[in-house]
């Protein structure tokens, strides 16, 4: 069930919210309701993966329970190992087999497992909880609360990657506490703006990007197509995921829960380090706290810094997908981050405008690699961008307008969420505008099959 589908917006969400607020004074009851609703939401894609999801949660909780009873750290390590093994099995097994196949030079059988949707997101949340238990920074939650923390439908499929200690305490808060109407209104506004961004902008950008990434499987694209496709995808992936995050944050807010921000106008960044503080912020935070800092971070010498950076960003790439394009994308970002750091350490000048330009071109070009189906296609795209192919046809008016609007919005000084926080005030006019926009968005999502979010595949 996609957020931007009528079945979700006209049936699932109203029913869930109505029951949730009916159970507002019964904390246990409304938590159980949200668990059931979230499992229905998840099972709508493929009911076969519900036992896997619940199995990972129950296993994690059981191992934590043994740890808290016995004081042994072994169950926690076993649980981390088991969770990561499940992720590796579904996501990376065939990739590893393909590497082995290339090394051995003989064909090997593939498992061909279907990737359970959201597995990368919920596994990371479980692992973060387990690591916090090891660090003594997490308590033993009731099974119901831990389950709800993991399966809560607004973030289950594609984040934001929330942490137990920022969400579980909120489960006890009365959703009808002061400000409920404002939270629901602002949540609804954010949900509607997310739908609009996804349907009108991200999906339009996909129509420009997709043909280029199909064409590079066969030939070097023209310069014009390579630039349009790469820029369109870089903007699409941002708006697609930012829209999803806005919808998730809005949905949570409608239930009185606050999710962390996930994007903060990353294409305005004037350095790569700043970019990663603004792009997929909850993943960056996870990687910083659970990979980069434990590996030594930046405080234990240059060699250790380089190791930590390349390992973290390599893992970041691998998290996005089992393929060399993702790994190289992550490692290229690591190289860029290292250069940024050395530049800063050497006190070399970097005017903000030049810093922005370099960051923008670097991140956009690397999204071309990220989207390419394989390295050969990525190479074709790269030389197409360098002008090795034909010049190509001029862009259509529609392409120019879509790219202009998207670039303008991506570089705007405020996010949609900021704008709504600042300027959504309770007047008759804004109420009418929100109702009309929500109505139109509901109509538009009823036309044809809604397109999946890009990050669902991760």
């Amino acid at each position: 069930m996609l957020f931007h589908s009528q079945i979700f917006l006209l049936a699932f969400l109203p029913a869930t919210l109505a029951l949730y607020y009916r159970l507002a004074e019964n904390a246990n009851g409304r938590q159980r309701l949200l668990i059931v609703a979230s499992l229905i939401f998840y099972g709508w894609w493929d009911i076969r993966f519900v036992p896997l999801l619940l199995g990972q949660v129950v296993m994690t909780w059981t191992m934590a329970a043994i740890h808290f009873q016995t004081g042994s750290r072994l169950p926690i390590w076993l649980a981390i190992y088991a969770n990561l093994s499940v992720l590796a099995l579904f996501k990376y097994l065939d990739f590893l087999v393909s590497i082995a196949e290339q090394g051995l030079g003989v064909p090997l059988p593939r498992a061909g497992l279907i990737l359970p949707i959201g597995i990368s997101f919920y596994t990371f949340q479980l692992v973060s909880y387990l690591v916090d238990v090891l660090r003594g920074e997490a308590k033993h939650y009731e099974l119901r609360k831990l389950t709800l923390f993991v399966v809560l439908f607004p973030h289950l499929i594609a984040g934001p990657i929330v942490r137990h200690n920022e969400i579980i305490p909120q489960f006890a808060l009365d959703p009808l506490r002061a400000g409920a109407a404002e939270r629901i209104s602002r949540g609804l506004a954010l949900l509607v703006s997310g739908i609009a961004l996804k349907v009108f902008l991200a999906d339009s950008l996909a129509r420009i990007a997709d043909p280029t990434f199909v064409a590079i499987e066969r030939a070097v694209p023209s310069f014009s197509d390579a630039v349009a496709g790469t820029l369109a995808f870089a903007l699409q992936v941002f708006f697609d995921f930012a829209a999803y995050s806005d919808m998730a944050i809005g949905l949570a807010l409608m239930m009185g829960l606050h999710f962390p921000l996930n994007f903060n106008q990353p294409y305005r960044a004037t350095s790569l380090r700043q970019f990663w503080r603004r792009w997929h912020m909850t993943l960056s935070r996870f990687l910083r706290d659970y990979v980069y800092i434990p590996l030594g971070g930046s405080r234990e010498g240059t060699a250790r810094y380089l190791f930590a950076t390349f390992a973290t960003m390599g893992l970041c790439g691998l998290w996005h997908g089992a393929g060399w394009t993702f790994i190289i994308w992550g490692l290229a970002h690591a190289a860029g981050l290292a250069i940024c750091r050395f530049w800063d350490d050497a006190d070399l000048p970097m005017p903000p405008a030049l810093g922005w330009l370099l960051t923008f071109f670097f991140t956009v070009a690397l999204f071309g690699l990220f989207r390419s189906p394989d390295l050969t296609s990525a190479y074709r795209l790269g030389i197409g961008l360098a002008g090795a192919g034909a010049i190509g046809k001029p862009w259509s008016i529609n392409t120019i307008m879509t790219l202009l609007v998207a670039t303008g919005l991506a570089l705007a000084p405020v996010t949609f969420k900021d704008a709504l926080d600042r300027w959504l005030v309770a007047t008759r006019l804004t109420a009418a505008a929100l109702a009309a926009t929500a109505f139109y968005a509901l109509l538009v999502v009823g036309e044809g099959q809604p397109k999946n979010f890009i990050y669902f595949q991760f």
């Binding site: 006209l10 109407a181 209104s185 309770a426 929100l434 109702a435 109509l443 009823g446």
Partner: protein
């Protein structure tokens, strides 16, 4: 300024009101004609997306004969077919229809017209497409829910901008403010008026800069056992099923529509051999179900002359009349056309 509670109430009431109004209007007007009522007058075809509009005709039971095909059959005039073959014809040929879409529409017609007099399947290359089972529909989309017999899903795909637009047009039609887009029998002349025909332009469209000379391959390609094993014609099974489910007393006609020789495989080529193999399968199925089989997709006095076509696939209106008359004569005489327009197979 309002309080937030008042604001939220206004938003929810406004949203629910708009949704209820839009949904009520759509259901009342019934733009796809699939709900069991017609308020303020009869149904009319108010849009040219035939995939959404033709199910209403198929369900209407107003017609006891039907021609189904792609745009290569859209110019076959139902009134002329009525006169030539008897019965009351609807022409439900859809632009760029895939074989699957034609099959679904024919099934729907059969399900609602148990006393079907004539089923005329106007065939073209899509029935021989090896990807027919993989590319079942086009980018135009295909509303499966209008073609099934599940009454529940009739209610859940209605809330969207095109449906509101169709409902609006239909309401205007019923108020006498707008004409119907297509005739009640599905027919429309989609090509420009005959007076606008430009032979030079047509020639350009037909040959698209290629040489006008079609060289037959000599010796003709002889399909190997491997070819015959690997060539796939997945749509033919649907045709088989369709003919099997057609009532016994129905006249079944399979007619390959003419296309200009520029769009046909060169004689003797591998593609021509593949097409012949496909046709042979269709002939075999047609014979098994006692269908009349007529082939206009041959080198003929129709298909070899540029002035008969607007483009390689679409013939002119007088040719459409010639095809209708030809079908009637073929069915009556059970012979090839002496002038060579068609081959009578069975």
């Amino acid at each position: 300024m309002l309080g937030w509670e008042q604001f939220l109430k206004m938003v929810l009431l406004g949203l629910c009101g708009l949704l209820a109004f839009a949904y009520g209007f759509i259901v009342l007007i019934n733009p796809y004609g699939h709900l069991p009522w017609h308020v303020l007058g009869a149904h009319a075809i108010m849009d040219t997306n035939q995939r959404f509009q033709y199910p209403a005709i198929a369900r209407s039971q107003l017609f006891n004969s039907v021609v189904i095909g792609t745009s290569s059959a859209r110019l076959l005039d139902p009134d002329r077919l009525d006169a030539a073959l008897g019965g009351r014809f609807a022409n439900l040929s859809m632009n760029a229809a895939r074989a699957w879409e034609q099959y679904r529409l024919a099934r729907l017609f059969l399900a609602h017209q148990p006393r079907l007099k004539t089923l005329l399947m106007a065939l073209d290359w899509v029935w021989c497409d090896e990807r027919a089972d993989l590319d079942r529909i086009t980018v135009r989309g295909f509303p499966e829910w209008l073609y099934d017999e599940n009454p529940w899903n009739d209610w859940i795909y209605l809330l969207n901008p095109p449906t509101i637009e169709f409902a609006g047009r239909l309401a205007l039609y019923r108020l006498g403010l707008k004409p119907a887009r297509l005739a009640a029998n599905g027919f429309s002349v989609f090509v420009p008026p005959e007076s606008a025909y430009d032979a030079v332009k047509a020639e350009k469209y037909i040959w698209q800069g290629r040489s006008r000379e079609i060289n037959a391959v000599i010796p003709a390609y002889a399909p190997s056992a491997e070819d015959l094993q690997s060539w796939r014609f997945p749509a033919i099974a649907w045709l088989d099923e369709l003919l099997r489910e057609t009532p016994k007393n129905t006249r079944r006609i399979l007619a390959f529509m003419p296309s200009h020789i520029a769009s046909q495989p060169a004689p003797g080529s591998r593609e021509a051999a593949r097409e012949q193999t496909c046709k042979a399968h269709i002939w075999e199925i047609g014979k098994r179900h006692d269908a009349e089989i007529i082939d206009f997709r041959i080198y003929s006095s129709i298909t070899t002359r540029d002035v008969h076509f607007w483009d390689p696939l679409h013939y002119r209106l007088p040719i459409a009349h010639r095809i209708v008359d030809g079908i009637a004569r073929a069915v009556a005489t059970r012979l090839d056309d002496p002038g060579g327009d068609w081959a009578y197979v069975h």
